[in-house]
């Protein structure tokens, strides 16, 4: 039986979608959860959905260094951190420029790196803590228009592996997850560019259909728990069988 009893867990990008579901699941398994995100109303909604008490929320824009410092100053040592904050933007390479590259990388990669660096430096990770980076199946593919998204998510996987080595002496683990398409507000917005019909056709490529946020949260619960204590540096695909094709 998976339990997160007495664990202090931090979830970024917890305003909605996968991050929200991770926070809810962790609270149900007994964890005390700190949720961060940019949107105060949505964070309040998330926190109202959590089980148990003692949870905290903080409005944080992870692309803002001062916000990260504020989060760090309010933090007690964590037993688990989910690096989930991310944005998606579809753009052919032909239309990229430095500010578009920055816009995606600063949120999807830089902010996660800076946050983990500060957590380590300020000794805010307990021994045997578990770090989970939410990457994407896009990092393994080559779908046209996803260059910056895919590259930033691939960079996270490499970062997580190096972190796993550097933190192993303290028994701290780091793993990444590559979900396929999960039905969330973010993917709906991103898929604005595609028509309803195209989306239905695309879903047929998934033997088990598109995922639900809870499908990803389940795997994250395993990684946060002591049941996965021998797993580190791994990169796990969870995609309803999409990559079987």
């Amino acid at each position: 039986m998976i339990t997160l009893q007495d664990k202090n867990i931090l979830v970024t990008g917890a305003s909605q979608g996968i991050g929200r579901e991770i926070a809810i699941s962790a609270s149900k398994l007994g964890a005390t959860v700190t949720i961060v995100g940019r949107n105060v109303e949505k964070l309040q909604e998330t926190i109202s959905l959590l089980s148990g008490s003692g949870h905290k929320m903080q409005v944080v824009d992870l692309s803002n260094a001062a916000d990260i410092d504020e989060l760090i100053s309010q933090s007690l040592p964590y037993d688990g951190v989910i690096f989930n904050a991310g944005i998606v933007e579809y753009l052919p390479v032909k239309f990229l420029n430095e500010s578009k590259i920055d816009a995606v990388f600063s949120v999807n990669f830089d902010s996660n790196v800076v946050l983990s660096q500060k957590l380590i430096k300020k000794k805010l990770l307990n021994k045997k803590a578990s770090l989970v980076f939410i990457s994407s199946i896009s990092s393994k593919l080559g779908v046209g228009g996803t260059a910056m998204y895919a590259a930033s998510k691939a960079a996270l996987i490499s970062f997580s592996k190096v972190l796993a080595t550097e933190l192993a002496p303290q028994g701290i683990r780091s793993n990444s997850i590559c979900p396929g398409i999960v039905k969330t507000a973010m993917t709906e917005q991103a898929n604005d560019a595609a028509s309803e019909e195209e989306l239905k056709k695309a879903e047929l490529e998934y033997p088990l259909g598109y995922g639900e946020p809870s499908d990803v949260a389940g795997l994250v619960m395993y990684l946060l728990s002591d049941m996965s204590k021998w797993m580190t540096g791994s990169d796990l695909i969870i995609d309803g069988g999409f990559t079987l094709k």
Binding site: L91, P92, F95, G144, N191, D192, A194, S195, E196, E197
Partner: protein
Amino acid sequence: MEINAFLKNFADILDDTDAALITQETVFRDLDEWNSLTALSLIAMADEEYSVKLTGDDIKSSDSLNDIFEIIKNKG
């Protein structure tokens, strides 16, 4: 916003299509070069040149380039 400039911008996102084929009446979907990536390029071009966010449904509901032009004009 002027139609000829728009047609030129559209021709610019293509690589293998004769610019002479690009007119107001062109049914863009019938162009050999039209695919999901050119659709993304059209969306990116509308954003870059006209600060207009085109959606997939905007494109789907259009037939000719003039239809796209009108949508951009109305949203601009």
